[in-house]
Symmetry: none
């Protein structure tokens, strides 16, 4: 850990396009953000490309980029991300899947894709305990529950492949049979993929055998609920095991605060510590002040605290520009809180986003994201307010997310020198 | 050689951050630079990333980048750089080391890491002549003196490796034994690295045998001085042999003027001609007008003359903003001299830096460097003065060092056309 302190706020999907009902302004331009404007004026701003100019990022891809990585080199899909989100630490060679607890009949026909929306943590814990860590033919099964009916599934062992069909027959397919990828012939897979399909099915058969007899399911059935007697898998992929952040920034200690487990999971994948609290919802309304206060509690033990706010993205997806304005103003108040703290004049502040989610698009876009960095010796440019138009004239305009992170780490004196 | 002429001044570590005692201006913004401002106004400016945005460059890495190269592809450390600085031309497969003449006792314990700061060029030349070019087991030793007690060391032969421990036991280790890397077991090396360690030690044993009996050392001892009876090596690395500059810019003839041998060495590595003079110190005070005049003498024979000034970097390292201002003003006078010369209205002028060295940081930073290019048909932008803030709005803002060089070579009509 170094001597300097930084706070980076990632406002998911922050960037937007001109909105008619806001008089042609973007939500960020329309919002009253006196604190953010002051920071922008005192530092340097720019429209940042989370990955690269013209690339439309998903949340995971965008965050990995902002954290300084090139996902193109190792991204394998959501299976790995959910495993990290659940708290599993993957090893090179593991294969990860997204899973649902589900209900099937004796012929493996799907009765309910979510096992009657099973959600009781006690029930889930007990079921998982009955099968977790199971070993077959030298391969090991790892399960870790996620929210509600979701579960991360990992197979560990030698010579596995990551590309196999989903056992889940699909979202609207109740009544269809679960797919046994080992029996299917109409997919192209390597020998390693085939081996993995075979092992996955062996594990799923064993799980079904055990769970059919589980007292938890007997109790559920007695209560008129559907039993959870299988796991439907999808999104298979070889484990993502990127080099730790400290390979690039030796000694750096980073914390991530988020309501959304995906974000803390991505942080853990990079070697950050992830923090959440029940009041952090990852939704439209979250405990903004709670997040700001937690950042203050963590700051003494970290070089950089990253705070994630999800609401701005949700407003983009739902085309709610005024709600997006409201959330941006709540974020402004978080910075106001931080600037009131003793010693804050020595800290570095930055704000950016993992991608734009323009309200009119109702989805992520490739538009670069308004960003800034401020702090004691940060360079100043001519940008005086925080908004998409204004930022385009700043010093960090056209930076990539990884370059913004590199700049932050450089101001925190945690960058390596290339050459001598 | 083409018809057009260019002068590029590299002001080492020029870029800075706002300095309180300069009223929040950077040294470049604070300095009175009427000539540079005039050139900036007549041409195009920008904050340039010597390597890439967010990367903190060492001097060698920054210069290789400015010269159009990607050091990531071939950089192996200071051993090679010093060999070129000494005037050696490396071949693919050579291994180079930084060396010190030193004094050891009969048990190879270090008595003095600098052989009593030996510096008499005659003595050094004679000692080197006694062992230079020595061959053992088909391998060859090449030595070339550098300034003071320093010497470049190269081993040439088949199947050598570049990663071995230093024989120098360390900066504060007088009394410790020289490290024999061939006898050490606690380092991981390839068979090639091990072979190189073995050969290096054979050469060092032979050098010690010869120098113990050298009349030069007998004379030194008689005068009460310490004998130079070994070479302590460090910074081993396979030879950097980048493709010549003319591979990218066919026919281009480039000269480099510098007081610092590292810079002329890097230039030679790229196929440039290096020029120095005793009055060019590479220090706080140098012969600015002498450098400017030498550039004029060389210009008829070159397409591009690169002039290096070191002082700005030293001021950053020592936190001397006002001294940095003074040196920048001296650089302004160099351009004033050039603009007075007959024909200068047809020449292209540019200025940049290998990295920023902010006074407050006392070290290199990743901040991009204020840069400009001017000349008869160079595009104009809105930037009217030379400074960090102003440059961020210019045409070449966000260029990399290699792109700036490419642009310079393009204005000199020396660029290749890609495609037809």
């Amino acid at each position: 850990m170094g001597d300097k302190k930084g706070i980076l706020l990632i406002s998911d999907g922050l960037g937007d396009r001109p909105v008619k009902e806001l008089g042609g302004k973007t939500p960020l331009e329309y919002a009253k953000t006196p604190t953010l404007d002051r920071l922008v004026e005192s530092g340097m701003a720019g429209l940042v490309h989370p990955y690269k100019a013209g690339t439309r990022c998903g949340t995971d891809w965008g965050h990995l980029s902002l954290f300084g990585y090139d996902p193109m080199e190792f991204y394998t899909g959501r299976g790995s991300i959910e495993a990290y989100s659940a708290g599993l630490t993957l090893q090179e060679g593991d294969v990860a899947f997204r899973g649902n607890f589900a209900t099937i009949d004796d012929d493996y026909c799907v009765i309910d894709r979510r096992a009657g929306r099973i959600s009781d943590p006690e029930e889930i814990r007990a079921l998982v305990a009955e099968v977790n860590g199971m070993e077959i033919d030298g391969y090991k099964l790892l399960l870790k529950p996620l929210t509600q009916h979701r579960v991360a599934v990992v197979i560990r062992g030698a010579g596995l492949g990551g590309r196999l069909p989903d056992t889940d027959p699909g979202t609207a397919c109740e009544g269809s049979k679960m797919v046994n990828p080992a029996a299917e012939t109409n997919w192209k897979g390597t020998a390693e993929d085939r081996k993995t399909a075979e092992m996955l099915w062996k594990f799923l058969e064993e799980i079904n055998r055990i769970w059919k007899k589980s007292p938890i399911n007997a109790k559920r059935v007695a209560e008129g609920k559907l039993p959870a007697n299988t796991i439907l898998t999808r999104g298979s992929g070889k484990a993502m095991v990127p080099p730790p952040f400290t390979d690039t920034y030796p000694g750096a200690k980073v914390a991530v605060i988020a309501g959304d487990e995906t974000i803390t999971g991505i942080g853990r994948m990079c070697g950050f510590d992830g923090y959440c609290r029940d009041t952090f919802t990852g939704g439209f309304t979250t405990d903004y002040l709670g997040k700001a206060k937690m950042a203050m509690e963590l700051l003494p033990n970290y070089d950089l605290v990253i705070v994630h706010v999800k609401g701005t993205d949700l407003c983009g997806h739902d085309n709610l520009p005024l709600e997006k304005v409201r959330i941006i103003e709540a974020v402004d108040s978080m910075f106001a809180y931080w600037l009131e703290q003793e010693g804050s004049e020595n800290w570095y502040f930055a704000m950016t986003a993992d991608h734009s989610t323009p309200c009119c698009r109702r989805d992520h876009s490739a538009d670069p994201v308004p960003s800034f960095m401020a702090g004691p010796d940060v360079r100043t440019d001519s940008v005086k307010e925080y908004g998409e138009r204004a930022c385009s004239e700043g010093i960090i305009d056209q930076y990539t997310g990884a370059q913004l992170m590199a700049t932050m780490m450089d101001y925190l004196w945690l960058s390596k020198k290339y050459g001598a």
